[in-house]
């Protein structure tokens, strides 16, 4: 039985007022809030004269979505000073940059965290941990002097590369000149920035947010070709090489496959904005709204590789649709069916594939696989596919006992599958002692970073703690990059020194796990802004105790073995925990 607090039999305080006429407002439009209010018509004219835009045919753009409108509303002219960081490796961004004047330097080697204005993380010694505990403030989230990397004077916060001459030597960078485009792959694919780029001198750039970039790509063959070409050159080959099915192929075959591969995207890029509505919809409504990528019983036209995002694997079951599993980055769909068909047993697709949120896929046509991949399969993969073809049941790792299937439906519907460290609490073992909450507060300046409450299914609660998502939409739009991936393990962390309390991340987090907390002084009084008089706030969330010698305090503090931080991609481990 899935229980969502907002859908429980009685939802505290959510009764709509009786007898009040609904308020009428104009429906929100995409360009109600332009990317930059400072973009003038003269600026737009100047941009449209740029070689990258002057050759575009305006007539290809629909009247509701003209190129001029896109430039005016989805783009902004940004001026960067020498040494100013434009993008940082590992950060998530929602825009691309076109250099209009000046130049930028791509760092070949990642500068250190403090050079990039990132908090340096040092695991404290035992004595250090103990001393920190003794010195922790009486009140949660006490104001401290901010770092010097954020300059609040210039409107939008600016971050400068520290020790720029030392980092930006001629042999350590690649120069990008006027007319060059960068950042488009990370913006469209929601992948981290692959390099740090710094303004070489005073530089003018056109920043285009992803919505505009998507539309320009859609209506302009030149831009589509340019972006696809860049993807093929920079990302596709490495992506294909990382796919187990293709790993063994020679370089020329891989290039041939890359040339035949098609890019397809499904769902809403900013799915977090409609997520709450989707959560409250009925199961059937929710399913109907999920874009269908491939339909059960259709012939398999090609192999689908998930590049980013998640997809639901389901099949018809009487009058409904039963979720069998979910696919994430790097996983494939349709392989067994294609292989069986190639072996002479025409096999239609066994499952539906639906986009959960936003899914970016690569499509490799069946003919390419039949000619260049299947004949060269290594024996172990061949044997596995033969077995899958003979099996009548599913080869999907999710066990289909009643309990786990209900839980699977729940985590897919609520999209908790996004979590790399989802806090799951076994309510049949949890004694509600709150040792986990106290341990969190003791390790985080008296402010626990999660709430032991959340949606439940089958006696398992998904607590309101940061999931450290595979697709961290909270990072998109952070003006200072304060919220970032802290390491290779993918922890999402907020740097308190660069957080400006704008709450963009808290509003973007679909799971509501980021809290805006008013800062206090040592006496517990709120700290207010000089100019506005409003309380100064900071975004806080679980950091997975990344700087604690004992790891996540919540897990190690639970005496009843009731709490885990689960990587939802590790389906078998999750199953074992549910079945223990």
């Amino acid at each position: 039985m899935a229980q969502n607090p907002s859908r429980s039999p009685h939802n505290f305080g959510s009764q709509p007022p009786q007898g009040v006429a609904p308020r009428r407002e104009a429906a929100p439009e995409r360009w109600d809030k332009p990317f930059s209010a400072e973009m003038t018509d003269q600026d737009v004219d100047r941009v449209l004269e740029h070689p990258q835009f002057s050759s575009l045919q305006h007539t290809r753009f629909p009247s509701a979505n003209p190129l001029r409108g896109i430039i005016k509303n989805d783009a902004a002219i940004r001026r960067f000073q020498q040494g100013e960081i434009v993008v940082r490796q590992g950060d998530y961004g929602n825009s691309a940059f076109l250099i209009l004047r000046g130049g930028a330097l791509v760092c070949l080697q990642e500068p250190s965290g403090d050079q990039l204005g990132r908090r340096q993380r040092v695991r404290p010694s035992l004595w250090g941990s103990f001393r920190r505990w003794l010195r922790q403030p009486r009140y949660g989230e006490v104001w401290s002097q901010r770092g010097s990397t954020v300059s609040p004077a210039a409107g939008a916060p600016r971050i400068f590369l520290q020790d720029a001459p030392g980092v930006l030597g001629p042999d350590r960078t690649i120069r990008l000149g006027a007319g060059e485009l960068f950042g488009e792959l990370a913006a469209l694919g929601r992948t981290p920035r692959t390099a740090t780029i710094v303004a070489e001198a005073e530089t003018e750039m056109l920043e285009i947010r992803w919505q505009g970039l998507r539309d320009i790509r859609k209506f302009s063959a030149e831009w589509r070709q340019l972006i696809d070409q860049r993807f093929r050159e920079r990302s596709l080959l490495s992506h294909l090489r990382e796919t187990p099915l293709l790993r063994h192929l020679p370089a020329e075959t891989l290039q041939l496959i890359a040339d035949a591969t098609r890019f397809e995207a499904f769902g809403e890029f900013e799915w977090q904005h409609t997520y709450q509505r989707a959560r409250e919809a009925s199961d059937r409504e929710r399913l109907e709204k999920e874009p269908l990528i491939a339909r059960q019983d259709d012939p398999a036209a090609g192999l689908l590789l998930i590049r980013t995002g998640f997809a639901r694997l389901s099949c018809r079951y009487n009058h409904g649709e039963r979720t069998e599993s979910y696919l994430g980055k790097g996983e494939t769909f349709g392989l067994e069916e294609l292989f069986a068909t190639w072996r002479g047993t025409p096999t239609p697709l066994r499952h539906n594939l639906r986009a959960l949120g936003y899914v970016d896929t690569l499509f490799i046509p069946a003919a390419v696989l039949e000619d260049h991949v299947f004949p060269l399969l290594p024996p172990d993969q061949l044997a596995r596919l033969e077995r899958a073809g003979l099996a009548t049941g599913s080869t999907i790792p999710w066990q289909s006992s009643t309990t786990t299937n209900a839980f699977l439906e729940f985590i897919v519907a609520q999209r908790f599958i996004n979590g790399r460290a989802t806090m799951l609490i076994d309510l049949d073992r949890c004694t509600r002692c709150d040792d986990c909450v106290r341990a969190c507060a003791d390790t985080h300046d008296n402010n626990p970073r999660f709430i032991r409450h959340g949606p439940e299914s089958g006696g398992v609660q998904v607590a309101s703690a940061c999931l450290h998502c595979v697709d961290p939409v909270c990072m998109i739009g952070c003006p200072t990059g304060a919220i970032h991936r802290a390491g290779l393990e993918g922890q999402v962390e907020i740097n308190p020194e660069t957080c400006i309390g704008c709450s963009v991340c808290a509003q973007s987090c679909p799971y509501g796990t980021i809290q805006m907390v008013a800062l206090r002084d040592e006496d517990g009084l709120p700290v207010i802004a000089e100019d506005t008089g409003a309380p100064i706030r900071r975004a806080t969330k679980c950091d997975l105790c990344i700087d604690q010698p004992a790891g996540p305090a919540c897990v190690s503090a639970c005496p009843h073995d009731a709490l885990i931080r689960a990587d939802m991609r590790e389906v078998e481990a999750l199953n074992r925990w549910l079945q223990r």
Binding site: T431, D434, R438, A439, I451, P549, A550, A553, R580
Partner: protein
């Protein structure tokens, strides 16, 4: 066999083997005229100190002192072992001194409260889970007031819209006291939801006097009753799960003081013989 059950079996077998080994050692030591009371006393003091350290581990979550789960498992099974050791050490006779009697009484109280807490922490959580949405304990009083207000508002609405006092009378006599009450301390053990059933039953039998509009409000009141039932169950269950520790811990501190006195007396007087 699942992993939790396998762990329980393994640790139970190990503990039982340790109890048998200690009993055999006690018996053989007695035959060999070894000072078994001294040895068993020393071992018991060591065990009690290790058991008490669990609470220290809880206070220092930032230190890598091992998982609290491992500590609790040790606490449970070493606790059973210490009971067996205590019975061997104290012997079958009734304590002869006041201190001995106090020690005997407090030790068994600590062990009994621990065993009760262990049983409670395994028996009650699944019942709370089945009761309904899990609630944060500290928020429950506020939610109770919210429910009381909502019920009052609904009844006033019914009174105004239907020009009828049926629900208002029912609210005054049954609902208001029900929404205001807090469950008794041991109600989770008795699984006592009689008050909820009585209120629900009376609301259902009241329907024959209600208009259609009042029926809709009665449906909402029934939902509030269900919410109050879950709220009471969560509150009483969580309160009991917290309160047993307030018995176990002070008794433990008392036991440590008595043990220290016992050890001092033993050491003091042992030098005279």
């Amino acid at each position: 066999m699942n992993t939790l059950r396998a762990r329980r079996w393994l640790l139970s077998v190990v503990t039982l083997a340790a109890v048998l080994a200690l009993t055999a050692a006690w018996w053989l030591g007695g035959i060999a005229l070894r000072p078994v009371a001294k040895y068993s006393g020393e071992l018991l003091v060591l065990l009690l100190l290790l058991l008490a350290l669990f609470n220290v581990r809880k206070k220092l979550p930032f230190l890598p002192l091992g998982s609290a789960t491992a500590w609790l498992q040790f606490h449970i099974y070493a606790g059973w072992l210490s009971v067996a050791l205590f019975l061997l050490h104290a012997g079958p006779q009734w304590p002869r001194s006041a201190l001995g009697f106090a020690l005997w009484l407090v030790f068994l109280s600590v062990a009994a409260s621990g065993a009760f807490g262990l049983w409670l922490s395994r028996w009650l959580p699944p019942r709370l889970t089945r009761s309904g949405e899990s609630l944060v304990y500290e928020r429950i009083p506020r939610l109770r007031h919210q429910l009381e207000d909502e019920a009052g508002n609904l009844v006033r609405q019914a009174e105004t819209e239907a020009a009828s006092s049926t629900l208002a009378d029912f609210h005054r006599q049954v609902l208001a006291p029900y929404f205001a009450r807090t469950p008794t301390l041991f109600s989770p053990l008795a699984e006592d939801d009689a008050a909820h059933h009585r209120a629900g039953h009376e609301l259902a039998s009241l329907r024959r006097y209600l208009s259609e509009r009042e029926m809709l409000i009665a449906d909402q009141l029934a939902e509030l009753l269900e919410a109050k039932r879950n709220l009471d169950a969560q509150y009483a269950g969580q309160r009991l799960l917290k309160l047993w520790l307030f018995v176990h811990l002070p008794l433990t501190y008392g036991l440590l003081v008595l043990v220290a006195a016992h050890v001092w007396l033993v050491l003091h007087y042992s030098h005279r013989f």
